[in-house]
């Protein structure tokens, strides 16, 4: 009985049934495949507390993975795909913050910090 219930629960995790291909996410070339696995590791799972859709089994993550797959096959660029996802799930969904506005401080901050420390050190030369 528990097993039957187990299967029923499993069933509820299934929301998209693929056509019965044997390699899921089959691409035209290895570059597309690389792009796919790279993209899904940079898209955040909208439902999990943290983590990418690559590491998540949530239904919405699965839907997102399928969508990314589809968009790659349709010829969308990485930026277009990220844009597509952000329109629906917010800026929250991109683990790679864009290089714009306040984010300049994010991306360059550490190096500015390093430069400042080096300046102080080289001017003081005492320890």
């Amino acid at each position: 009985m528990a097993i039957k219930r187990f299967f029923t629960v499993i069933y509820f995790f299934i929301f998209s049934s693929f056509a019965f291909t044997q390699i899921v996410y089959e691409f035209e070339n290895s570059l597309q495949e690389k792009r796919f696995y790279s993209l899904i590791s940079e898209i955040r799972c909208p439902k999990c507390t943290s983590g990418s859709i690559a590491s998540s089994d949530a239904p919405v993550s699965r839907d997102l993975k399928n969508k990314v797959y589809q968009l790659i096959l349709e010829g969308s660029t990485d930026d277009e795909i990220k844009q597509y996802v952000s329109e629906r799930f917010g800026t929250f969904s991109d683990y790679r913050p864009s290089l714009s506005g306040p984010n300049y401080f994010l991306w360059f901050g550490p190096f500015i910090f390093l430069a400042i420390l080096l300046l102080i050190f080289f001017s003081k030369r005492r320890i």
Binding site: A58, P59, V60, E87, G90, S123
Partner: protein, 172 residues
């Protein structure tokens, strides 16, 4: 140089402390209020009775509620939704990844607070809306999505997040 360094060593931790105190004290629900309004996605779907849904029926002030017969938490929010609909709020259901037979049976059994429910068995409209699961709710004002609540709808979330948005719209 030395003076400013000493000053920094003390000031920076203090600033960090002030910042985190502020983050801690800010009302959690208020943070959710910053939502970028967007147009309701276009779609071609039927309702649970098989009739095509017209996009005009989504005008005005509408609460879109994502639900399914397999969703347990939806039962938890159901009484509150019923109460809202009885107070003249238009609620439109978005039946998410469900079978129409089971969905209709659920409504028969538990009651139907919805004007009608959009039947989205594949979750296409839900995906375009940014739905992450059921239950979830969106506030629609003049075909623009202005608010979003993840998880079940309750009095607190309604008052803190959606109600202010409705009141702001009604003032215009």
């Amino acid at each position: 140089m030395n003076q400013s360094l000493r000053f920094l060593i003390i000031i920076i931790p203090i600033l960090i402390l002030i910042f985190f105190t502020r983050v801690l004290l800010v009302d959690e629900d208020a943070q959710l209020a910053t939502f970028e309004a967007k147009n309701f996605p276009t779609f071609e779907l039927d309702d649970l009775n098989g009739r095509p849904v017209q996009s005009e029926s989504l005008g005005g002030i509408k609460l879109i509620n994502v639900w399914a017969s397999w969703c347990i938490t939806c039962l938890v929010e159901h009484p509150f939704l019923t109460k809202l609909s009885e107070n003249n709020l238009d609620i439109i259901g978005l039946n998410y990844k469900d079978s129409d037979t089971r969905a209709n049976a659920w409504l028969q059994k538990h009651g139907n607070p919805y004007l009608f429910s959009i039947y989205d068995p594949r979750g296409d409209l839900a995906f375009d809306l940014g739905v992450t699961g059921a239950p979830e709710s969106y506030l629609l004002i003049n075909n623009k999505v202005v608010g979003h609540i993840q998880g079940e709808m309750n009095q607190i979330k309604w008052e803190n997040i959606f109600l202010p948005l409705i009141q702001k719209a009604q003032q215009r």
